[in-house]
Amino acid sequence: MNPMPAPSDESGTAVAGPPLLSVRDLVTSFPIRSTLLRREIGRIEAVAGVSFDLPAGQTLGIVGESGSGKSTLARTVVGLARARAGSVTFDGTDLTAAAPAEVRRRRRDIQMIFQDPYASLNPGRTVRQLVTEAWQIHPDVVPRDRWPAELAELLARVGLDPGHADRYPHQFSGGQRQRIGIARAIALRPRLVICDEPVSALDVSIQAQVLNLLRDLQRDLGLTYLFISHDLSVVRHVADRVAVLYLGRIVEEAPTAEIFAAPTHPYTQALLSAVPRLRPWRETAPEPIVLAGDIPSPANPPSGCRFRTRCPRAEDVCAIEPPALTIRGTHPAACHFAG
C-alpha cells in the first residue's frame, strides 16, 4: 500500500489536492407515513442540500447535534441510503449515476466504521470470519493462500492479538471490538473511510487509544477520512477541516484551527462556547452562549434560515430568505450576517 502524506505549505497546514470525494447538493429523504394506512404523507429531508470536497489524505470532520443528519450523510456516501438528488463523486465517478457494476467496483474503496462496535458485528461469527468475508466477496484483493498471513498482519496492525482470531465478538471489550470493526474496514485496502462516531461509545482512556490508531493508519496507508462526531474536542484533534451541520444543511465550513479560533455562524459560535473545557481556570473564555430550546423536527423545518428559531441574532429577513453557504469573511458560512 502506498503512503500518501498530505502535502504541507510553510505554515504547516495541509494544502488541498484534487478532491477524492466531491459531494454536490445532496438530498436524502425518508417517507413520513400515516399511522393508519401507511400511506406516504410527506418526507423528512434528513440531508437537505449538502456540498463539500474532501481532498485525498485529509480528514473532514462533520459535527452537529443529534438529528442533524450526520449518519444519514455518511450512509448516503457509502451507499447504505439512496440519494434523492445531487451527486456523490468519488475519484471522478458519480456514484449516483454510474452503472451498477462500476458502482460496486468503486464502493470497495469506500468503507465505514460505525459508532456501536456491539451492534455492527455479527455475534455468531469469529474475528477470522468477520474479516475474511470481505475477501471472499472481493477475491482479487488477497489470494486465498495468503489469508492467514494477511489476517495476522491486519490484526497486529490494529492492536489485536493475532492468536485471538478464532474468538467471537462477545469475548472482546468495547475498545477491542472497535478495533475489529477497524480491521474489517481496512481489510479491502480502501482509500476513503467514513467514521461515524467511532469513539463515542468508548471510555475516555480507550477513546484515546483508538484515535491514535486511526491517525497512524491514515499516515501509513494514506487514508482519507470523513469523520463524524458530536464531540467537538475529538473533531478538533483529528480533522483538517470541519463542516458544521444543522438540520440537514452545512452552516459553516473552514480549516479546523480557523473555525475554532473564529467561528462566524451564530450556531457554530454557540456550539463551540458550550463545550466544557478541561481546565477552565487556565483561560478566560467568553461567557457561553446558551441557546434556547432544542433542534426543531426535520419533518417541519423553519422557513428561511433553519436556525432562526434558536438564533440570538435573527432578524425579519431570516424568516424569509434562506442564507446561502458562501464565503463570508475568510470561509463559507450560511448566515446573512456572518463574516
Binding site: E65, S66, S173, G175, Q176, D203, V204, S205, I206, Q207, A208, Q209, L211, N212, R215, H230, L232, S233, V234, R236, H237, A257, F260, A270, L271, S273, A274, V275, P276, R277, L278, R279, P280, W281, P288, V290, L291, A292, G293, D294, I295
Partner: protein
C-alpha cells in the same frame, strides 16, 4: 459543618453466574450542604451502584455493608422503607435516560407532582398549577400546554428537564444526578448544567454528579471523587486534583482527553478496565499502570493524604506536578 451524606467503607457485592462480583469495595466520601461533588470513573467502576445503594435502589440479593448516613441517620441495614421515606422528602435522583424513568401512559405534569399528591395530600388542581410552575422553572417552553402532554411528545432535553422538575417537586436537599447529560447534545447539556447550577444557588441544594466527562466536572464540581474498579483512587478539590493529581489513573485520564489543540498524539492509558469478577490483586490498576512496581502486585495501597488530598498509590509522591 456536618455532612448531609456520609458514606464509609461501603461495599456492594452481587452473586452472579460468574461468581461474586465486588462492584463497590470500600468507598468513602462526604457531601456537604450546598456543594457539588462529582463521582468520576470509567464504565463499570461502580459509580451507579454506589448511588443506588444510597437511594435504596439496589436489586434484591445485593449484599451491602459499611455505612451510609444521611443527616446522621444510618441507612445501611435499615428497612428500605426508611430510605424511601427520606428519598421522597430530602433526596432525589435523576438518571441518564429520562424516558425509562417517565411513565409513557401518564401526562408529564401529573408525573411531576405525583409525589406531592400522594405524600403531601395536595389536591389535583393545585398540583397541576404547581407542575406548571415547576416546568416554568426548569425552562420548559409553553408549560401550560405541555403540562398535559405525554413523555413521547417531549425531546430528550425536555424530558431531562421534566425529570429535574419532578425531582424538585419536594425541594430536596440533595440531588443525585447519574450521567444527566450524557445522552444530550452539548448545547442542551449547557442548558441543563446551567439550570442545576442556578438551583444550587437559589435553593442551597447539594448535588452529587455522576459523570465520565472531565470537562463537565471541571465546570460544575467543587470536589471530585475518582473511582477505579469499585474503589476511590483519588479525591479532593477539583482544581487541585486536575492541577496536581497524585494518582497515575487520574493522570492518565486527564492526558487522554483531546483538549489541547496543539497536542499531536494523545497519551492513552494502556489496556482496558478489569473484569469485576476477577480483579487483579494488589493495586487493581497495576496491569495498566506505567508507574507499577513489584509491590503493586501484592499490596493494596490505602487512601492516604499526600500533598493536600487523598490518593491510593504507593508512588503518589512521584505522580503529577
Amino acid at each position: 459543618m456536618e455532612p448531609l451524606l456520609r458514606v464509609r467503607e461501603l461495599r456492594v457485592r452481587f452473586a452472579t453466574r460468574h461468581g461474586t462480583v465486588s462492584a463497590v469495595d470500600g468507598v468513602s466520601f462526604d457531601v456537604y450542604p450546598g456543594e457539588t461533588v462529582a463521582i468520576v470513573g470509567e464504565s463499570g467502576s461502580g459509580k451507579s451502584v454506589t448511588m443506588q445503594a444510597v437511594m435504596g435502589l439496589l436489586p434484591r440479593g445485593a449484599q451491602v455493608s459499611g455505612s451510609i448516613t444521611y443527616r446522621g441517620t444510618e441507612l445501611v441495614g435499615r428497612p428500605v422503607s426508611v430510605t424511601r421515606a427520606l428519598c421522597g422528602d430530602e433526596l432525589a435522583m435523576i438518571f441518564q435516560d429520562p424516558l425509562s424513568s417517565l411513565n409513557p401512559v401518564f401526562r408529564v405534569g401529573r408525573q411531576i407532582t405525583e409525589a406531592l399528591v400522594r405524600r403531601r395530600g395536595m389536591r389535583r388542581a393545585a398540583a397541576r398549577e404547581r407542575a406548571v410552575e415547576l416546568m416554568t422553572r426548569v425552562g420548559i417552553p409553553a408549560p401550560e400546554l405541555r403540562v398535559d402532554e405525554y413523555p413521547h411528545q417531549f425531546s430528550g432535553g425536555m424530558r431531562q428537564r421534566a425529570m429535574i422538575a419532578m425531582a424538585l417537586a419536594m425541594s430536596p436537599r440533595l440531588l443525585i444526578a447519574d450521567e444527566p447529560t450524557t445522552a444530550l447534545d452539548v448545547t442542551v447539556q449547557a442548558q441543563i448544567m446551567r439550570l442545576l447550577a442556578s438551583l444550587r444557588e437559589s435553593d442551597g441544594m447539594a448535588l452529587a454528579l455522576i459523570t465520565h466527562d472531565l470537562g463537565v466536572v471541571a465546570d460544575a464540581a467543587d470536589r471530585v471523587v475518582l473511582m477505579y474498579a469499585g474503589r476511590v483512587v483519588e479525591t479532593g478539590p477539583t482544581r487541585e486534583v486536575y492541577e496536581h493529581c497524585r494518582h497515575p489513573y487520574t493522570e492518565g485520564l486527564l492526558a487522554s482527553v483531546p483538549d489541547d489543540a496543539d497536542v499531536d498524539r494523545l497519551v492513552p492509558i494502556s489496556g482496558q478496565p478489569p473484569n469485576p469478577a476477577s480483579l487483579p490483586g494488589g493495586c487493581a490498576f497495576h496491569p495498566r499502570c506505567r508507574y507499577a512496581i513489584e509491590r503493586c502486585r501484592t499490596e493494596r495501597p490505602p487512601l492516604s493524604v499526600v500533598d493536600g488530598h487523598p490518593s491510593a498509590c504507593h508512588r503518589s509522591q512521584e505522580v503529577g506536578g
